[in-house]
Symmetry: C2
Subunit: 418 residues, 2 copies
């Protein structure tokens, strides 16, 4: 580490981004304001869900995902905590009531976080109380989160055979894809924490450091730089490894003259960011720079297509935007090397609607919304290049605002002569 | 921080545990040995699953959980990565073949990690290929992981109506509950990393520090101390907050004369540890020490019950061991304040079989196995106390080996006079 702490400017060449180039991390006043905005928004979010019940012939919605529970009720589970939380955080929205389930471990916490909801304390399986609960609430037909495990589905059906369960449509995914102003603010806050962290890391990157060391230093900069956590495990992949978009950082030294692909994000007040930069460690071979330019042009094509939509009556589909980026890479004969989609929505979950891909809906994009634009080219055994930015897209306001502030230009780090 | 790095011994009173008291972190040779042991063990693990097919009338097993995929095939997804991995890492075990699904992002990675499996590359939903796949493999009746989302279940049923899907019994949970020697070694390794990290943190704990600062310092000590990651988000809760067994660390200063409950674990080569210590920050009130003693005696009662089982022909049930701990707390009139179970198995998942609780099976515990023993007492608005250790239990070998090495005695930290 050459004795310098992460973020020291001693070895930072002129022109490199610095942490101070990006907005400062959110403070306590921001968090209070966000909590207040959520509290104020929850009744309308719940009514939006309820408004579907009559047409769909449903009495209620049984929700299972922590991000939906946070959105509608305010309860907070940590990342992955649902795996050990039992039924805690699962919830039921009827025409009149919002019920949140909790086992003894979560009662005090949920009482504080979701004061408007009715807390239902479970000693064991939800199925054990299901008959009594649905009878008490007069429920006969329920929309159930389609992520419901088949095991639970069958136990509920057995417990109350007269209550019909129906896999719910994407209602909450659709609602959460349209972002409120303070939701966008939090995603932008998470994006800025990530920008600052990568800027702080730049002087530390050099051939000989390991992927794992750099991933850990980046994580530390995120965790101490205003984030509540990571949005997901950091991918930090060098050389041919960068062709594996989802490998884990390794304990091997980075070689000079290779790429370093870093895909990471921060979480701020439950909202997530996601960005990728592909850096060059030492002088890059010409072919790597050519590929970088190709990916950058593909990304630009997607952004141009979005900007062009402001002259059109409705937003383009996620499939259309994907096609705009993909056409650039296909024209270079590398279409086969771009296996994933062009982007995904982000918010309380790292991947949510809208999708921007060959398989995405042909319906217009939601608006206002936030999503990633992240074309890539991967040549197995050689290298991988991806550039990923978050944008806030608002068709009615004719705005396409980048939330990722880090420069997109190719950046050579760890030059031997520094 | 008084200028000292975490782990400095300058402010460490005599008698406190130090990082050097615990086994050193695993090295590269350990990891190579473990990889080899897994490769050697996979055929038997797969055969153990297949051995159930005939009696159950099944042609195959469709697996969805990353921990099962790792166990049977070797593929590795990061914590929570299944949320963004699509069908990648899901797998099918037939009588003759093991198939792992991957989208383009995972092909290169899985080819390396699961060389024995047949890789099936998916461009979209598994349901789109289901008819062709099941026809090709001659499958008519499949056991499906009961965590299968009802949405996917219905799409698969529609795609191939002639193929009967049946929610699978707990086969893999049962198999994974019985631990191989190198599995226990890795859990012990993760437990030692956690022990060392807490020992390193002790001198940093004092009134005025925030829960969040200490949680972050502990995480750093784990991440830089030999772990591949955390087993789960750290709980670091002081005073009345400690009565919330699952709240997040807060940005508020810890007060003198309160408890600090720290529940955390490390991950080493996919295997997890889990431990809780309730420390006293400054002189504790007498009632807190009494409660601590009660919880320690409850834990001792569970361990005694396990040791007594070596004189019996079969292991006790998880319900029996829970009852032994619970009886101690009930005798003190605090049964209502011990809302959760006494323990849970641990391995590739933080919570797995066996369960030790009032609702646990009455069947004998598996053996050899690893689980937590973690009674607690929580008084809302006042304090919470929990002591959690991992133990390796082997009935045939008559061994009960503590994997958590950190002392269980009450520990007063951050005394004003130091």
């Amino acid at each position: 580490m050459s004795g310098g702490r992460v973020g020291s400017t001693s070895r930072r060449p002129r022109g490199w981004p610095t942490p101070a180039d990006f907005p400062p991390p959110p403070g306590a006043a921001d968090r209070r304001r966000w909590a207040e905005a959520d509290r104020a928004a929850r009744p309308a979010r719940i009514e939006r869900l309820r408004a579907r019940f009559e047409t769909a012939g449903m009495d209620a919605y049984l929700g299972l995902r922590p991000e939906d529970a946070r959105y509608l009720t305010g309860v907070r589970l940590g990342f992955g905590e649902e795996k050990v939380a039992g039924h805690s955080g699962r919830f039921l929205v009827t025409g009149e009531t919002v019920v949140v389930f909790a086992d003894s471990r979560y009662v005090a916490q949920f009482r504080t976080e979701a004061p408007e909801a009715r807390l239902e304390i479970l000693g064991g399986d939800l199925a054990g109380r299901w008959r009594e609960l649905t009878d008490g609430l007069g429920l006969r037909r329920l929309a159930v989160d389609p992520s419901c495990p088949i095991g639970l589905w069958r136990r509920l059906t057995e417990a109350a055979p007269a209550v019909e369960l129906v896999p719910a449509p994407d209602w909450l995914d659709e609602d959460r894809a349209r972002k409120e102003p303070t939701e966008i603010e939090r995603i932008a806050g998470a994006a800025a924490v990530a920008d600052r962290a990568l800027a702080a890391l730049l002087p530390e990157i050099a051939a000989g450091r390991t992927e794992r060391e750099l991933a850990l230093a980046l994580e530390w900069a995120i965790r101490t730089g205003g984030a509540d956590g990571l949005a997901f495990e950091i991918a930090c992949l060098s050389g041919p490894q960068a062709a594996l978009p989802h490998g884990s950082p390794r304990d091997v030294p980075i070689e000079a003259g290779t790429v370093l692909l870093v895909d990471f994000g921060a979480e701020v007040d439950g909202y997530r960011s996601d960005m990728t930069r592909t850096l060059f460690v030492g002088e890059p071979p010409a072919v790597a720079l050519e590929r970088y330019d190709l990916v950058a042009r593909a990304q630009r094509a997607a952004l141009d297509r979005l900007e062009a939509s402001f002259e059109e009556p409705v937003p383009p589909s996620g499939r259309t935007v994907d096609a705009a980026a993909r056409a650039v890479i296909e024209a270079a004969g590398l279409g086969e090397r771009f296996g994933h989609g062009t982007g995904h929505g982000i918010g309380l979950a790292t991947h949510e609607l809208p999708r921007l891909s060959r398989l995405a809906s042909e319906a217009p994009l939601p608006s206002p919304t936030v999503f990633s634009v992240e074309p890539g080219v991967y040549v197995e055994g050689e290298l991988g290049i991806r550039i990923e930015d978050l944008v806030h897209y608002d068709h009615a306001a004719r705005r396409l605002v980048p939330l990722t502030g880090f420069p997109r230009e190719p950046l050579v780090v760890g030059r031997a002569d520094r």
